[in-house]
């Protein structure tokens, strides 16, 4: 958050949070929402559009299938030994290797993409985080300059925030 202050609102109800987020978006302020659970309504409001994770997954899967078949083919050619009159490069037998490597690399790349886009590991959790946000409360953290603090805080209270706290933004 680039501003000097962060106003943290703690909400018990999702609809209160959503109206506070809408007001924040309308005022074009920088914000972050914390939620104990994934919620599609909130997601559509705060992060419209699809996650780019899928492109990384696709890259991993393509690399996996290419790598799997290449491994089997190149290893067989490196020590060419005909077994039971089968071709040295016998593609049907290598399908399992290609298939498993597709899944393996696709999954590993998805994990790396998850870490990258979620900014994990995140040793210093972001300003405004409250342990209750993993329990039953929702949080809205809005960045603003010192003169705007009171306005943001009263907007949150008006929307139904249970607690409003002002912290120094990182």
């Amino acid at each position: 958050m680039s501003k000097e202050k962060a106003v943290v609102g703690v909400f018990s109800y999702l609809d209160d949070l959503i109206s506070a987020v809408r007001a924040t978006q309308k005022a074009e302020r920088e914000y972050r929402v914390y939620s104990p659970v994934r919620n599609h309504e909130l997601e559509d409001l705060t992060s419209p559009g699809k996650s780019p994770v899928r492109f990384v997954t696709m890259t991993g899967a393509l690399l996996g299938i290419t790598g799997g078949f290449s491994l089997a083919i190149l290893c067989s050619l490196d020590w060419p030994m005909r077994v039971s009159a089968k071709d040295v490069v016998s593609i049907p037998g290598f399908v399992v290797i290609g298939y498993e490597c597709t899944i393996l690399f696709g999954a590993i790349f998805t994990l790396l993409a998850l870490f990258h886009f979620c900014r994990l590991p995140d040793v210093l959790r972001k300003v405004g985080y409250d342990p209750r946000f993993s329990d039953d409360k929702f949080g809205l953290v809005v960045a603003c300059g010192s003169p705007e603090v009171e306005g943001v805080a009263s907007m949150m209270r008006g929307a139904g925030a249970e607690e409003v706290e002002v912290r120094d933004a990182l």
Partner: protein
């Protein structure tokens, strides 16, 4: 969680009650937990002693000898890979189909998958005469410029099982991240705070994280789903690609996959019933969940029974004397007890689940789940040992006797699996907090219209 919420009479299920109920399981253990852990460790110790003796004195202690190149250890390998299966089915396949009954049980099923594959992975190594050379299976550059045979089903197995272990462990860990964060935020001791802070990777549940998390989780489920079909299919090809009577059959892949789901769901029930009683998870795990799992058992039992009957039909229809003899030998030969135990446990007892009262009778389900797993162990024993015992050459025929070392190592495997499960339920949330919350109506001040 609509089922749980509607059936709980005490209080409605809310975000807070879910956290309370699940995180209560992580409180300091009581005597029963220590007793369980000590029992598991004792079994592991017995298994370790037997394996050590086998390494020092030779593989002959296992009773494997011609014609039984594969015996109890490979039976155990197939059994444990099968157990692993339903974890992925419940976590990934049912996630893609949006089956809400999976939420309270899938974490335990996933843990079961990871620990069962860890157990299964030991057996091909224990089975080796010189286990310290197990890495010969891996394609690695070596000074002899040798590579493994990529056309061999045994190498397919290495790739299939190691991919399965990796992907299921990743899927399991990713699912745990938000729940470990919830545990972190309530941890009281410095050790637990440190453990959960590290394991949760600093997860905060902000809107950007949830968005990418949801996308990644769906992709993991999509990747894990084909593994449900592929892993046990590949394991079945270890047999089906050979020419041994009783093994060389095209029905093996679906037959193995159905059997794996059958035994895996039974194992989930075996584990979840004591856990539910010990941690009072009745509001979260309700008769609706047991009813759904019982129906899954009933269906897969039907498929397995159909496969057994088909095997006999194929043997008769093939007019192949070796195949015909093999399928006469199984129910009427010297090792017939193993066949009839399998048939009774897997085909007859599960029929009781046609009765609705028994599908939700916890005591009966617990007993039945154990019966099924005994039956499924014998199924693998029949396939492997009976087939090898009656090969093409009558001069090579033999009957198998299990040795004490094999029994000890088999017991050790159950202890090893139990040890990981026991440790897991005390250190990590064994019920998925975030996913249960997803199916509870979110708290709203005004009427929530849904989305």
């Amino acid at each position: 969680m609509s089922h749980a919420a509607s059936e709980s009479t005490a209080e409605p299920v809310t975000y807070k009650t879910v956290n309370d109920a699940v995180l209560r399981m992580l409180e300091p253990p009581k005597f029963g937990w220590y007793l369980m852990l000590a029992t598991c460790l004792l079994c592991v110790a017995i298994g370790a002693v037997c394996w050590t003796r086998q390494i020092l004195l030779g593989i002959g202690l296992a009773g494997k000898n011609n014609p039984f190149g594969w015996a109890v250890y490979i039976t155990n390998f197939v059994f444990w890979v099968g157990i692993a299966h339903s974890g992925t089915l419940i976590s990934a396949v049912l996630y893609l189909f949006r089956a809400n009954f999976r939420q309270p049980i899938y974490r335990l099923a996933e843990a079961m998958t990871v620990f069962a594959v860890l157990t299964a992975g030991l057996f091909p190594i224990i089975h080796l005469g010189r286990p310290w050379f197990f890495y010969f299976l891996m394609p690695y550059p070596n000074q002899r410029a040798l590579w493994p045979n990529f056309r061999s089903p045994l190498l397919w197995d290495v790739f299939a099982v190691s991919t399965y272990l990796t992907v299921s462990a990743v899927f399991f860990f990713v699912g745990l991240i938000p729940d470990i964060a919830a545990a972190r935020d309530r941890a009281k001791t410095w050790f637990r705070k440190l453990l959960y802070s590290m394991a949760s990777l600093g997860w905060s549940g902000n809107h950007s994280q949830w968005k990418h998390y949801g996308a990644a989780y769906l992709l993991f489920a999509a990747f894990a789903t084909p593994l449900v079909v592929s892993v046990h299919s590949v394991v079945s090809w270890d047999f089906a690609v050979s020419i041994v009577p009783g093994w060389h059959s095209t029905i093996f892949p679906p037959y193995f996959v159905a059997g794996a789901i059958f035994s895996g769901v039974a194992m989930v029930i075996t584990l979840i019933i004591p856990l539910r009683a010990a941690f009072k998870l009745h509001p979260l795990i309700t008769p609706v969940h047991f009813d759904a799992m019982s129906k899954l058992i009933l269906v897969t039992s039907g498929v397995v029974t159909y496969a057994y009957v088909t095997e006999f039909y194929i043997a008769w229809f093939s007019n192949n004397p070796f195949e015909r003899y093999q399928f006469w030998f199984r129910p009427f030969g010297e090792m017939k007890v193993a066949f009839w135990v399998m048939f009774t446990c897997n085909c007859i007892f599960p029929l009781t689940l046609w009765i609705k009262k028994l599908r939700t009778n916890i005591v009966w389900l617990f007993i039945l789940s154990i019966i099924i797993n005994i039956g499924m162990w014998f199924e693998r024993f029949n396939i492997i040992v009976q087939s090898l015992g009656r090969d093409y050459l009558p001069s090579a025929w033999a009957n198998y006797s299990i040795t004490m070392h094999e029994l000890g190592i088999t017991l050790g495997a159950f202890g090893w699996f139990g040890m990981w499960m026991t440790l897991f339920i005390k250190f990590f949330p064994a019920v998925a907090i975030a996913e249960i919350k997803e199916v509870i109506p979110p708290p709203t001040r005004h009427h929530h219209s849904g989305h």
